[in-house]
Symmetry: C2
Subunit: 130 residues, 2 copies
């Protein structure tokens, strides 16, 4: 499985989807967007900090594991670091595969593993009057 992993301090602009091979039957794209409430409190945004080399190594390892269960052709992973205001995406994932189930399942599993096993931390930015 081909992988593209990127961290960026600027708004995510997903790369133009390639045509894919003629064997690709499904493409899933996921955006994780910062919501205005965190633990029932209004926030301005979230700060993300990644240990990039470790995160990258860990993501490659997770993707290798996941692709043996959910065979896919290509995966793109882009994560913001630094401040992400409410309404903007902190995470973009694109998965291309032959069959839809593999792409949908790999996407869901990758986000679960990301939250559990990848060194990316977040902190809340609250309005100063709270």
């Amino acid at each position: 499985m081909k992988t593209h992993i990127e961290f960026t301090r600027t708004p995510i602009s997903p790369p133009v989807p390639p045509a894919g091979t003629r064997e690709v039957g499904a493409q899933v794209e996921f955006l994780g967007i910062v919501r205005e409430m965190e633990n029932s409190q209004p926030i301005l945004g979230l700060f993300y900090e990644a240990h990039e080399p470790m995160a990258r190594t860990q993501l490659e390892k997770i993707l290798t594991e996941l692709s043996s269960v959910h065979p896919c052709a290509e995966v793109w992973f882009i994560h913001r670091s630094g401040f992400v205001p409410v309404g903007e995406a902190s995470l973009f994932i694109r998965v291309q595969s032959r069959h839809r189930q593999a792409a949908l399942q790999l996407t869901a599993a990758l986000i679960d593993r990301l939250k559990a096993d990848v060194p990316i931390w977040k902190a809340t930015a609250k309005p100063s009057n709270l």
Copy 2:
């Protein structure tokens, strides 16, 4: 849940994603793409034919059912009809929700139900020398 259902005889161009509300934390987009092989035979493309009024009614019913299990904010569904060549998308789905699980699960369930319960048929276009 807000729904947008469309059938088109021309290539699918997904509408520009709206900003969403500040409560939307996840967006899933799915493309179903015509592969070059169907039942181990090379094909030129697929012909899709929908009974549009019935398909639309059925989709609305399915989406109402699914949204009670997987609460989402808004769904876009675009399906090609007529000839779709290999490499082009026959189906586009976009789901926005507060939480990622609901969007991912509604997308997967909607495609399963589409294939089982919606009056859209397909036929294979094979190279004439086969």
